[in-house]
């Protein structure tokens, strides 16, 4: 019998399409140059720099106190943690021991920042894959945290609450009460998140088995944060290099092994539970004492190199300061988590469809100013 020859009349042809720089699914001015064949992605090439402000160059010009304020504008959803990273780097360089009270407050606010970032991510993640309600649920809960921040330091997003040597002000008298109210409130709301989105069968079909990242690739691409941990790679800086009061608390590093979009989603949901647990362990035990130690009006770091790693909501942030002993840094480098996480986008999305790419990008949780520093 002769083999059947299938006569395919539809010719396959590759072409380019732009996604962004103002596409709703890119969460900022990121432009992706897609090479596609039908709806199958052949190549994703990010085009960066639309909002690059050269923060690293500005850091060489400004004083060390001023540098802290610039870091808000990198990953604005983790602004407090960015501030903390620079302050820790400067304090380590000066060998300045900050009071226990400062460490505990920094950790509590850091975890609140993480929850605020993850609730926003959860809201827009749902919206990216077609579930509109999540956006309102996420923003409702995030609003409570922003109100706490506003009462504490006057700002809701770019906080500038940290400074080298401690904090700008002491916490507001209502801080402990309102934080406890939030924790109690959010514990009843997180199961709703699961009921609304996690257990939704359409959502699971959109995310399971999509954009798989293996553990070896996660390490090689320098993935960090929930992106790395969803691939079974233990990369939480809070566990391996604890800072502030994180060595005093017990928490589980949220991990999954499948490495797909759904795993990255689950890791972030679990991280919110763990952050609540960290806050609960600390909120009743804030030590008495000063909220800052005095530093010189002009900070001069000793000659040398200083590196500080922290875990932002997106992953590992590194602050690398080279000092020549003057009042300005010779070089400041920020190792941003989003930059490394973006570099693996092409690797995990080749072969999937455009709709999958949107879901993959949502769980990489990119904040573009963090990439375009």
């Amino acid at each position: 019998m002769e083999p059947i020859v299938v006569n395919n009349n539809f010719k396959s042809e590759e072409y380019f399409i732009n996604m962004g720089p103002q596409h709703p699914a890119t969460h900022g001015v990121l432009r992706l140059l897609l090479t596609i064949d039908g709806e199958i992605i052949k190549k994703v090439e990010p085009d960066l720099g639309y909002i690059h402000r050269s923060i690293e160059k500005m850091c060489e010009r400004d004083s060390y106190q001023q540098i802290v304020h610039l870091t808000d504008r990198m990953d604005y959803l983790s602004s407090n943690i960015n501030n903390e990273a620079v302050c820790l780097a400067i304090e380590n360089a000066l060998q300045l021991e900050v009071p226990e009270r400062v460490k505990v407050i920094r950790t509590i606010i850091g975890e609140l920042t993480r929850i605020a970032s993850h609730t926003l991510w959860w809201g827009v993640m749902g919206m990216d894959v077609g579930a509109f309600t999540t956006f309102f649920y996420g923003f409702r809960d995030r609003e409570m945290i922003n109100d706490i921040f506003e009462e504490t330091c006057g700002a809701r997003l770019t906080m500038n609450y940290n400074m080298p040597g401690g904090l700008m002000f002491d916490i507001h008298p209502n801080f402990i009460k309102r934080t406890k109210e939030f924790v109690a409130h959010f514990k009843t709301k997180l199961p709703e998140y699961d009921a609304l989105l996690t257990n939704n069968i359409i959502f699971q079909h959109r995310t399971k088995g999509v954009g798989i990242l293996t553990k070896e690739d996660a390490i090689s691409f320098g993935a960090s944060g929930p992106v790395g941990r969803a691939s079974g790679y233990s990369c939480d800086v809070r566990v391996h290099h604890p800072y502030s009061a994180l060595d005093k608390v017990k928490f589980k590093e949220a991990m999954r092994t499948t490495g797909d979009t759904f795993a990255r989603y689950e890791v972030r949901i679990e991280e919110m539970w763990e952050s609540l647990s960290i806050i609960e362990q600390l909120i009743d035990n804030i030590p008495e004492g000063d909220y800052k130690v005095a530093t010189n009006a002009v900070i001069k770091l000793p000659k040398g190199e200083f590196y500080q790693r922290v875990e932002t909501a997106r992953g590992e942030l590194g602050v690398y300061i080279i000092s020549t002993g003057t009042k300005n840094a010779h070089r400041v480098k920020f190792r941003s988590p989003g930059f490394s996480n973006l570099s693996l986008l092409n690797h995990i999305s080749v072969g999937s469809k455009i709709g999958d790419l949107v879901a993959i990008m949502a769980t990489l949780d990119l904040v573009i100013p963090d990439i375009d520093r």
């Binding site: 720099g49 010009r61 380590n92 090689s220 590196y307 590992e316 590194g318 690398y320 570099s343």
Partner: protein
């Protein structure tokens, strides 16, 4: 593994390396450009060192020298090390790329090329990452001048 033990192992591969622990919390190695790739490959593949995580790659302008600083960590042993490579050639600084060893280096090296003008041999896609193709100069170099957009104190 302690810094001392690391130093003892690494010296057996390439004898003429410079080690330093002064003014830094890590063990620093300064390597000649022509030995960079060989050292990096050993650091990644040797079973006792296993530096599989390149967590930071920075370009640095030391004034006279241009160079690159690599921060490495082992995810198995959790030890860290810093590798530095420098060149006095400001016209055409070139090092070997390490993106065949750590894939994250591909983007980071493009960033360094963009802002410092340091070229990397064997890089698959070495072109500007943030700035436009027709941009002249390399902004993070110390001798970069832009009279319109920069405020100099």
């Amino acid at each position: 593994m302690t810094n001392e033990a690391l130093q003892n192992i690494i010296t057996t591969w390439i004898p003429e390396l410079e080690f330093s622990e002064a003014e830094s919390q890590f063990l620093n190695i300064t390597v000649k450009p022509e030995q960079l790739h060989e050292l990096m490959l050993q650091l990644k593949n040797n079973n006792e060192t296993k530096f599989d995580y390149l967590f930071c790659l920075s370009g640095v302008d030391w004034g006279t020298d241009l160079g690159v600083v690599y921060h490495l960590e082992s995810t198995d042993y959790r030890h860290t090390i810093v590798v530095k490579v420098k060149t006095a050639d400001r016209e055409n600084p070139t090092f070997d790329s390490v993106c065949d060893i750590w894939k994250t280096a591909e983007f980071h090296e493009r960033e360094v090329f963009d802002f410092f003008g340091i070229k990397f041999n064997n890089h698959p896609n070495l072109k500007r990452l943030f700035l436009t193709e027709d941009w002249s100069g390399f902004p993070l170099r110390k001798d970069y001048v832009d009279e319109i957009n920069m405020i100099v104190k």
